[in-house]
C-alpha cells in the first residue's frame, strides 16, 4: 500500500473517530439545556443519521469529478472549519435555542442541527469519496468499500470508547473538541501537501 492510499485510509478512519466522539460530546453539551432524557439522544442520533446520509449522497456525487487526495483532505479541513461554532460558541447558541423553543425535544433537535449538521454532513462525504479514490476497477470495488467501511467504523469504535471511558475523565469537553480539531487540521494539511497537484488520476491515490 503506498503512502497516498494510507493517507486516504487515515482520513476515513479519523473521520469515523471524529463523528462518534462529537456525537457523544454533543450529548454532554446539550444536557445542561435539554436534559439527558431519551428524546435528547433521539434528537442527536436522528440528526447525525440524517447528516451522514446526506453526506454519503453528496460525497458519492462529488467523487465523480476528478477525485484526488487533496480534495479529500480539503473535505476534512472543511469539516474542521464548520465545527468551529460547536467548539467556540456552543453556549450562546444553546442559550438562544433554549430561549426560543420551550419543548426540550424540539430544542434538542434544533440545537443539534445548528451545531452538528454541517460538520457531520461534510464528514459523511469522506467515506464514499475515499472508496472512489482507492478503487481500481469494478473487480475490487466491493473489497475496497469493505476496507473503507472497516477502517471508518473501527475509527468510530475507537472514538466512542476512548472518549467515553478515558478522555472525559482527563479533559474538559472543549479541550477534547479542540484537540480533535487540531488533529483533523493536521491530517488535512498533510493530505493536501501529499496530494500535491490539483487533480490526479483516480488510480494514483
Amino acid at each position: 500500500m503506498n503512502m497516498k492510499s494510507m493517507l486516504v485510509y487515515l482520513v476515513a478512519g479519523w473521520s469515523g473517530y471524529y463523528v462518534m466522539a462529537v456525537e457523544l460530546l454533543g450529548g454532554r453539551a446539550l444536557s445542561p439545556f435539554f436534559g439527558t432524557g431519551i428524546y435528547v439522544w433521539g434528537a442527536i442520533i436522528a440528526l447525525f443519521m440524517l447528516a451522514l446520509s446526506i453526506g454519503y449522497l453528496i460525497g458519492g456525487q462529488f467523487s465523480t469529478h476528478q477525485p484526488s487526495l487533496r480534495k479529500l483532505s480539503l473535505l476534512l479541513g472543511l469539516a474542521t472549519l464548520t465545527s468551529l461554532p460547536c467548539a467556540t460558541f456552543s453556549t450562546p447558541i444553546l442559550e438562544k435555542v433554549f430561549e426560543m423553543v420551550p419543548d426540550p425535544r424540539y430544542g434538542a433537535l434544533l440545537a443539534s442541527f445548528l451545531l452538528f449538521f454541517l460538520p457531520i454532513t461534510i464528514s459523511g462525504t469522506i467515506s464514499p469519496y475515499a472508496i472512489r479514490l482507492l478503487t481500481h476497477g469494478l473487480g475490487d470495488s466491493g473489497q475496497v468499500a469493505g476496507k473503507v467501511f472497516f477502517i471508518s467504523t473501527f475509527g468510530s469504535t475507537a472514538g466512542t470508547l476512548l472518549t467515553s471511558f478515558y478522555l472525559v475523565l482527563l479533559f474538559e469537553l472543549n479541550q477534547i473538541i479542540h484537540g480533535m480539531l487540531a488533529i483533523s487540521f493536521a491530517i488535512a494539511v498533510i493530505g493536501v501537501i501529499a496530494g500535491g497537484q490539483k487533480s490526479e488520476p483516480s488510480h494514483g491515490a
Binding site: 445542561p32 439545556f33 433554549f98 469537553l173 472543549n174 479541550q175
Partner: protein, 299 residues
C-alpha cells in the same frame, strides 16, 4: 465437590434468587428509563429499579404508611432545622413521594413543585405509596435541570429545594455540576435552604464536596450510607439555632418516626477532600466514572 463448596454454591444460588422467593412482587412497570418494581417484604412495601437493583428507592411500612422508614428522607427533612417555616418547596426526584407527603402533612398550606423525569415513578407512587398530591402540590414530568432553567426564566423562588435525583446505581451527571448548583442557588428565596441527597463515594464524594463548598460555602454534611448536604442562603446557622429549630420541630417530626436526637447527631461540618480535587462542571463531570473510584494517594 467438597461439602463446603456445595454449601457456598447453594448460598450463592439462593442469594441470586432470594428476591422472588421471599418478596411478593406487587407490580412491575416498564418505563423509558428503567423497570419500576414494587414488592412487599417483612412488612414493608418498597420500590426499586429492576430486579437487580440491590438498593431501594422508597419504602413504606404496611401497618403505618405515614411513618418514614428510610434514613435518607429523614435526613433530608433535617432541612427544616435550617428553616422551620417554609412557604413553598421544590422537590427534584419523587421517589415514592415520601418527602412530599411529609411536608404536606406538616404544612397543610405549603406550595410544592415536584419534578420527576419518569412518569412510571409518578404512577407507581400514587398507586402504591400513599402519595396523594394536595391541591397545592404540582407534579411536573421533566428533567430536573431543564425544569430549574425554566423556573429561573419564570423567576420562581423557593424556600427549600430538595435535590433527590441520585441513587447508588446512577448519577445524572448534568445535575452534579457547579453550573447546576449555581442555578439552584439562584432559585432559592432569601434564607432558602438546599438539601441534596447523594450516594457518592471515593473520588466523586471528594469532587461533590468541593463543588458544593465552592458554590454554597460551608454546609452540614449528614452521612450514613447515603449523604445529605444541607446549606442555607445567607449563611449556615450555628448548631445553637439548629437545636432550637429541632426543638420546635420535635413533635411534628416524631409523628413521622424521626428521632430528634438521632437526626441532630448526624449534623457535622467536618468534610475533607484532597487539595487538588477538580470541581465538577458542565465541562468536566464524569461523575459515574468517579463514583467509588479510590482517592489518589498524595506522595
Amino acid at each position: 465437590m467438597a461439602p463446603r463448596a456445595w454449601f457456598l454454591l447453594v448460598l450463592i444460588l439462593t442469594g441470586l434468587t432470594a428476591h422472588p422467593a421471599r418478596a411478593k412482587v406487587i407490580v412491575e412497570e416498564k418505563s423509558l428509563y428503567r423497570n419500576v418494581l414494587v414488592y412487599e417484604e417483612n412488612g414493608l412495601r418498597c420500590m426499586k429499579f429492576g430486579k437487580h437493583d440491590n438498593g431501594r428507592q422508597a419504602c413504606i411500612a404496611l401497618d403505618n404508611p405515614e411513618a418514614i422508614v428510610f434514613n435518607s428522607p429523614k435526613m433530608q427533612l433535617g432541612a427544616l432545622y435550617l428553616n422551620p417555616s417554609p412557604r413553598n418547596a421544590l422537590i427534584i426526584g419523587l421517589g415514592g413521594g415520601i418527602v412530599t407527603v411529609a411536608l404536606q402533612k406538616m404544612y397543610p398550606d405549603i406550595q410544592i413543585d415536584n419534578v420527576e423525569i419518569d412518569p412510571a415513578v409518578v404512577r407507581v407512587s400514587q398507586q402504591f405509596f400513599n402519595f396523594t398530591p394536595s391541591k397545592n402540590t404540582h407534579i411536573y414530568t421533566d428533567d430536573g435541570r431543564v425544569f430549574v432553567k425554566q423556573a429561573l426564566k419564570r423567576t420562581l423562588r423557593y424556600d427549600i429545594i430538595f435535590l433527590d435525583a441520585f441513587d447508588h446505581l446512577s448519577v445524572p451527571e448534568h445535575m452534579t455540576t457547579r453550573e447546576y448548583l449555581l442555578e439552584l442557588k439562584e432559585l432559592l428565596a432569601p434564607g432558602g435552604v438546599m438539601a441534596a441527597n447523594t450516594f457518592s463515594s471515593g473520588q466523586l464524594h471528594a469532587a461533590e464536596s468541593a463543588t458544593y463548598a465552592d458554590v454554597f460555602g460551608p454546609y452540614y454534611n449528614l452521612q450514613v450510607h447515603n449523604r445529605v448536604i444541607l446549606t442555607r442562603l445567607g449563611g449556615l446557622p450555628g448548631m445553637d439555632e439548629v437545636r432550637r429549630n429541632a426543638g420546635r420541630m420535635k413533635e411534628r417530626l416524631e409523628q413521622l418516626s424521626i428521632d430528634t436526637n438521632w437526626l441532630l447527631s448526624l449534623f457535622s461540618t467536618e468534610v475533607a477532600w484532597p487539595e487538588r480535587t477538580r470541581l465538577l462542571t458542565d465541562q468536566y463531570s464524569p461523575s459515574n466514572l468517579l463514583n467509588g473510584r479510590p482517592l489518589e494517594r498524595t506522595p
